[in-house]
Subunit: 186 residues, 2 copies
């Protein structure tokens, strides 16, 4: 009998990463468009982020992080470090905008990012090229693109967690069976 393959890790694939990145705007659209504001502006207390805030953060990433950093590496290698990423830009940039506007903006920007990615026509050598992160030191194009995918999903986790926890009290004794609420595997 063959041993089961390890299904917990994938090697980076540009084609697969692109397929995952392309889906994110449609996922958040299906999830959030038309929900009452009380849900899209819900958070986990204090300064924690709402789904609305996450959308603004995605948008800021499209504008200043992923493709600009890729371009920086391809143009300058490690000679010019990345600009720092502002994790709080969305609180300024999203002010006065509606959730549907943010969804539309994210979809438009992500499509543009993927067109830019395609235009770079990255080969294996390009994926190995190195840039300089201001805090983390040397990183590769491959790591940048893998992080883009993981980052999308990190904030999808956040959206689901924020929404689930709105009913942390209302679920009553079922709390024990809901990992997202109890913090324990359910």
């Amino acid at each position: 009998m063959e041993p089961a393959a390890d299904r917990s890790r994938r090697n980076f694939s540009l084609l697969e990463a692109r397929a995952l990145l392309e889906r994110t705007p449609a996922i958040v659209d299906a999830w959030l468009r038309g929900l009452p504001d009380e849900w899209t502006r819900a958070n986990e207390g204090g300064e924690s982020w709402s789904p609305f805030d996450v959308l603004g953060h995605y948008i800021h990433g499209e504008r200043t992080d992923w493709i600009p950093r890729l371009a920086r590496i391809l143009e300058h290698g490690t000679a010019v470090p990345f600009d720092k990423f502002d994790r709080f830009a969305q609180f300024r940039d999203s002010a006065g905008k509606s959730l549907p506007e943010l969804l539309d903006e994210f979809a438009r920007l992500r499509a543009g990012s993927l067109s830019a990615l395609d235009a770079f026509a990255l080969d294996e050598a390009a994926l190995d090229r190195r840039g300089q992160h201001p805090a983390l030191g040397e990183v590769t194009v491959r790591q940048l693109l893998a992080t883009w995918v993981a980052h999308d999903n990190d904030h999808l986790v956040q959206i689901a967690r924020v929404l689930a926890n709105q009913y942390a009290d209302e679920v009553g004794p079922w709390r024990a069976f809901l990992r997202v609420i109890s913090g324990q595997p359910g």
Copy 2:
């Protein structure tokens, strides 16, 4: 200056819960349909679940958990406990099925569940009715329905976490900034 409202909890609302429940099939459809099998069958190692397994679990819930338990309460109150829920049924039921088949089946079953929910025309008194959970004891209709919502989102967390962690190695030093991978707030 008024104190900020608590945005971390919502009181249960049948209308809002329905709006959230209605979205889940479209969310997983946008997320998973057309992805390579290596991603939809990915897991977190060992006996942990893949997105494919989660879909089967959602389907089993539609068939045996949410509406059947609601009907049990409305018919029998606490006199007849719920049937136990089989958390592993999907490994049997999904065998030989394709991911698109599961997506279609879940969408069809969820739509039927919501029609059944509507047909019960639950009022506040009905939401307070009590049933008997085989392990948790007395629970209310309100708690059951809130749990349905939280449970959907609990497994959306799981899907995002499984996908993000496929690149846990490929992200390199960015691991430190990705909460879903590091386990720390990023």
